[in-house]
Symmetry: C2
Subunit: 365 residues, 2 copies
DNA sequence: TTGTAGGCGTTATCAC
DNA sequence: GTGATAACGCCTACAA
């Protein structure tokens, strides 16, 4: 065992728990393990059940079209052999797989992660494999990914954002699969949409600051994408309500809490005559609040802070952070639901859902 | 635009930026869009280039085996048609795809997310599609996922953890693909390993508390998995160094910061005669520190707190949280590197890498 | 260096 | 309700 500090030269082995074979009871039978790298084929099952391969295939996909007796025999044969459909071959022939792909612009975001849980909770029980990829806020990567979809043939795709490149929109349409965009409320979504208005979010921030009596405000946020939309709404509110938008501190990327501190410092350098700041995302708001405290600025008396996005930390901080946000988990769940309806061919009333924005006031304003 | 508060009935449309076609310059040519849902085939490219399909296939995979002149013609034809390899068909025939799958036990974890970025940074430039799934700390789901791998035939798989079920280990071995386990240091990894000793992490926590003069300590953490390993090391350190391990507060799952608060409350109910607590993960440590502050406990004088796992927040809190952790990004990067070596058939010196644990002392101890 | 033949495992199509 | 046949798009094996 390590005996003196930082980096033990001889790490102790972890005695990881090992669960022996077949001791866990599942609802379904745990099939016997495949023999060797090549598992049972449709043909093997068919031979065992005394039917044609195509009948086994049907028994799996459309059991109602197979006679009861044979169905039973086939099911037993499947259990015996541990047969698993080769989804590659299946997808190649049918042109559609059971994979649903979600692409996150940032895999580290708490909100996106929550949404993914919501979607998975809906899609996985329905038999889809839910996998996640990242675009890292890069057009370049987004394009590569979307190109690759053409041959991966997922059943559906989901994005935490709106596709902006016309080329990519075209490519996605050409796939002919359900697509959900989220996290914004554009006029013309590609296909399905579960989102909210970032413009309104900015407006709400301005309105709240005004209602709380602040008059000289600042914006901290990303220059592009949803940041720009939130800024637009914020500017509009300031103009209408008569707030002085003293300072817009913009950046290109937000990677961590530390960025919030940096932007706040920049703000304070540019102007000290500001009584409230709207931080256009959760990390920025948390970072700004911490930096303010480090500098002994009293929040909210010296500077009020409102953020967008919700985050577990917001409620836990002192003072609590006032945040505008959406229920990300629910957003993900609904996105999954919309996809499911499409995939099942249910006639759809609406293909666009709006998520309500909520403002949770805490101590920071 | 929303005019009064919480949930606007008529959300404002976001005027999302739209980037028109062909205005972005990439290093490679952006191929023209595929015509219709069915893109160009190997055969189409071959016809255009005046060669056999197999030659095109080779030009893509082993260009050195194709004559220079034809290679040029083929490449032009590929660009013209916008041909994209159908990875399904390719994988079906060759028995191997270019997808690398990583499974996270918890998609919301900051550390896991960092590791994924590290892996992606290595694997994606090498031409692999890096996708992420979740096991949600469930044996059941893990089993389902591993079964499905059989037919998805990824090039390799990665887990943020060690596979504990013997059945699943068997299934994974049968796949015959590179496998990386991480986040622990077991005696007998399935294949590749990039990990650290959780047992040592627990030991280090005990050692640190001892060195700082604390004598009556508590453990807060998960009952199973890595929590149990960290507890084991912590217990050992306490025994050897003469610390009184007054209280072990255990739980089954950790989902959010709030759980840390709950466990701390439980601790305080069970015993007030404790001068330091080791929280076996980042959320627990953050939650416990916050709860302590809410209760006006002075940290570290009334209660010291040390956590495992690192987290952006740890350094930002007041007092800063002393944490033991690993460089998750680097861990992910190395895991990706190991996989790449395997996939490329590079003879490997070692298939097991140990990541150093580091203790960062901050104000909380 | 290039090409031919055949098949990966499944499912669409069309007969029975 | 069931089965024979062909084909999805590519790549391995072998031959030229």
């Amino acid at each position: 065992m390590a005996s003196d500090g930082q980096a033990p030269d001889n790490p102790t082995f972890d005695d990881v728990v090992r669960v022996p074979r077949q001791t866990l009871a599942y609802d379904d039978n745990v099939a016997p393990l495949a023999q060797g790298p090549r598992g049972a084929l449709l043909e093997d099952v068919a031979r065992l059940a005394g039917v044609a391969p195509i009948t086994v295939s049907r028994a799996i996909r459309q059991p109602e079209k197979v006679g009861a007796e044979r169905l039973a025999r086939i099911r037993q044969a499947i259990a015996q052999t541990g047969y698993q459909t080769n989804s590659l071959a299946s997808a190649l022939k049918s042109g559609r797989s059971n994979i649903v792909l979600a692409f996150l612009s940032n895999i580290g975001s708490q909100q996106f992660a929550l949404a993914m849980r919501g979607s998975a909770q809906v899609l996985e029980p329905a038999g889809y494999q839910f996998l996640i990829g990242q675009t890292s806020y890069s057009y370049r990567k987004e394009t590569e990914i979307i190109k690759s979809l053409h041959s991966l043939r997922p059943a559906a795709v989901m994005f935490t954002g709106v596709i902006e490149l016309e080329d990519n929109r075209e490519r996605l349409r050409a796939l002919g699969i359900p697509i959900v965009e989220t996290w914004a409320y554009p006029r013309d979504p590609l296909d399905l949409l579960v989102g909210f208005s970032n413009t309104d979010a900015g407006w709400m921030a301005g309105e709240h600051l005004h209602a709380r009596g602040y008059r000289r405000v600042a914006f901290l946020g990303r220059r592009g994408g949803r940041g720009a939309l939130r800024l637009k709404g914020f500017r509009a509110a300031c103009a209408v309500l008569g707030l002085a938008l003293v300072c817009e501190v913009l950046c290109d990327e937000v990677e961590s809490i530390a960025d919030g501190g940096k932007l706040l410092m920049e703000l304070l350098e540019r102007s000290r005559d500001v009584d409230a700041a709207f931080c256009a995302n959760d990390l920025l708001a948390i970072g700004a609040l911490m930096e303010a405290r480090h500098r002994k600025l009293a929040v909210p008396t010296d500077l009020a802070i409102i953020g967008f996005g919700e985050n577990d930390m917001a409620a836990e901080m002192l003072p609590g952070l006032t945040m505008i946000g959406v229920d990300s988990f629910e957003l993900g769940r609904r996105a999954g639901d919309l996809l499911l309806q499409r995939l099942r061919g249910v006639p759809m009333g609406t293909t666009r859902q709006h998520m309500a924005l909520t403002l949770t006031q805490r101590g920071s304003t």
